[in-house]
Amino acid sequence: MTIASHFPYEAEVIERCQESPTIFTLVLRLTDPVIASEYRFTPGQFNMLYLFGVGEIPISIVSDPERPGKLIHTIRDVGRVSHGFSQLGVGDRIGLRGPFGRGWPLVQLEGQDIMIVTGGLGCAPVVSVINYILRRRERYGRLVILQGVKHSSDLIWRERYAEWEKQDNTQVLLAADVGGTPWPGFVGPITVLFEHARFNPQQTVAMMCGPERMIHAAADVLVERGLQAWDIWISMERNMQCAVGQCGHCQFGSSFVCRNGPVYRYPDAGELLAKRGF
């Protein structure tokens, strides 16, 4: 039996945490013990979370793959379904099906230097990567984290960034389009950060997510700096109804983001990414 189908299973909220005025985290547990014991995922994959009587939305799994009993989802309250989720508390039940899609190639990348680039609100898919690497720090080389936000107040987990920065061989750079006080980072688009990033393009693999225009601009800069386009991975977002490659909503050129993505090698998405309308 696989739970990654059209059919949801019940999950219970076992912890809830408000991260910012609009962002919150739900820790979920599948209530059916058989289903729970069979559930496995890789970072970068997502679940379809169902709110009773309202609908389903795709949400990345940010917890650790070796602890599949506690599924962590960090959600921004933006609309119908996500707002409903923001109202839930411990003990509430929702529906869950997944995991869907292809995640980040983290095992394959052991030994490499890693650069993480995230912009706008698109941080959830790479948070799973940061968490994963920091728990297995010795398996990876240098770690560079570049985070851009619109407004300095959009940055959640400031303490975590400060914590990450203190680790060996790790660099954390922040940029906000609109800075506030106090703001430890730079002011400007995320691309200003590349001038300050110290990395060896010969042995670095980049993982990015965020607005597609930002991804495109950032990839251009990285390629200019000597990274192979092949060594850039991105995570994409499209409307998703089914998550199993059938409803057609996540169509992107010749692929279904829910199945062939959401994580792509940059050259597999690159050209269409620059075109409006795909």
């Binding site: 990654a4 189908s5 059209h6 059919f7 949801p8 299973y9 019940e10 209530t31 169902y50 009773f52 009587g53 309202v54 609908g55 389903e56 933006v78 609309g79 003990g91 509430d92 039940r93 929702i94 529906g95 977002e237 499209r238 409307n239 109804q241 089914c242 199993v244 490659g245 059938q246 409803c247 057609g248 909503h249 169509q251 050129g253 010749s254 692929s255 199945r259 075109k275 409006r276 309308g277 795909f278």
Partner: protein, 371 residues
């Protein structure tokens, strides 16, 4: 190995009802073409008298007219707006339901589909080609669609080779018609006084054994072959090639996209009638007492605003981008995803477009292959 491709015989016109009763005798509900409200719809057949007789259909861009001739034939026309799609990939269907208990526990359940075995009379070659594609999408998938698969398994297909294509048909250019070559249980060639019936499956063979068949004469065979040749010759529309993927993706900024967008209403008629379009959305419907909800899927179209909506932004806000998405997917992306183009040349999108946009003309303007 049983050889069932050879079973062939002539079924006289006055014995045609025996085909329907043989199918009914095997437990099939018979579905076939009927004339209703000036159109042609596939519906349950009470008997042969429900089939169109002496009906001809005149189709053109944005136009469909049922006309009557003095003939005795039942299938002297090409196709109506529906194909097999609505029978298998239904326009609205329940996927699962959920019950909420007083203390908030959720119980999800799914009904086991037990569809009535259905025989469809009058399936066209283009529809069989489209069915093959929908089968790949819904059945030969990582997660097969339960309802579609169950209905598909209980489907008996009686194809009829086309002798009078519509003005909008171009199946000869896509390689999908006008004669059915595979994927049916039975295929019929309609002649003035009856049918040449040939089996294409074991079930088809078994059915033929129940019918009063006569040997097929050389003249009858000749007449059928000529009808097919004639049906090819009658088609004057065509696509400029079988694989246009590279030309289309190389012409994403072609000015013709803008031109067609000034005419297209973004209504989605084309995607509804297209036998290969598979997009759907999911909708949750809570019961009034808030104790249960049903989760439905219903047809959707890449021509709608909601299709490409993601929070805060619409990937395809205007008609130019939507028409381009439709065409580049149908004639481009499909080659990578399903190994062939998503167009079987049925011409329905031309007939049922309210402003008469012609896919073959648009494609020829955008992706003409230099010869």
């Amino acid at each position: 190995m049983p050889d069932h491709s050879v079973a062939t015989g002539f079924l006289a016109g006055h014995d045609f009802a025996r085909l329907l009763s043989a199918l009914a005798g095997q437990g099939y509900r018979c579905i076939g073409p009927t004339v209703r409200d000036g159109a042609l719809v596939y519906d349950t057949l009470g008997g042969v008298e429900d089939l169109p007789t002496g009906v001809q259909i005149s189709q053109g861009p944005g136009s469909f007219r049922v006309e009557f001739n003095q003939g005795t034939r039942h299938f002297d026309w090409a196709n109506g707006p529906q194909a097999l799609k609505p029978l298998l990939f239904t326009s609205r269907e329940i996927l699962w339901q959920v019950q909420r208990s007083a203390d908030g526990e959720l119980q999800f359940s799914q009904q086991d589909p037990e569809p009535v075995p259905t025989a469809v009379i009058g399936v066209r070659a283009c529809d069989l080609a489209a069915l093959r594609l929908q089968d790949r999408h819904f059945v030969e998938a990582d997660v097969p669609d339960v309802g579609y698969t169950a209905r598909r398994r209980r489907l008996f297909l009686v194809a009829v080779n086309c002798s009078r294509p519509a003005d909008t048909c171009f199946c000869a250019s896509t390689g999908d018609g006008p004669a059915a070559t595979r994927g049916y249980d039975l295929v019929l060639d309609e002649l003035d006084d009856g049918f040449i019936a040939s089996a294409g499956s074991k079930r088809g063979n078994e059915l033929l054994a129940l019918l009063p068949l006569q040997p097929v004469s050389a003249e009858q065979r000749q007449a059928a072959a000529e009808a097919t040749e004639g049906a090819v010759a009658m088609q004057h529309r065509q696509l400029p090639g079988r694989n246009l993927r590279d030309q289309l993706f190389a012409n994403l900024d072609h000015p013709q996209w803008e031109v067609v967008a000034t005419r297209c209403l973004s209504c989605g008629n084309c995607t509804s009638v297209c036998p290969t379009c598979f997009c759907y959305r999911e909708v949750d419907q809570p019961a009034l007492d808030r104790e249960s909800a049903r989760h439905y899927r219903e047809w959707d179209s890449c021509f709608t605003q909601g299709h490409s909506y993601i929070h805060g932004f619409v990937v395809r806000p205007d008609t130019r981008l939507r028409y381009r998405q439709w065409l580049t997917h149908k004639l481009g992306g499909w080659h990578d995803q399903y190994g062939r183009s998503g167009c079987v040349g049925c011409g329905r999108c031309i007939t049922w477009c309210p402003v008469g946009i012609d896919i073959t003309e648009e494609v020829s303007a955008i992706a003409a292959v230099p010869t």
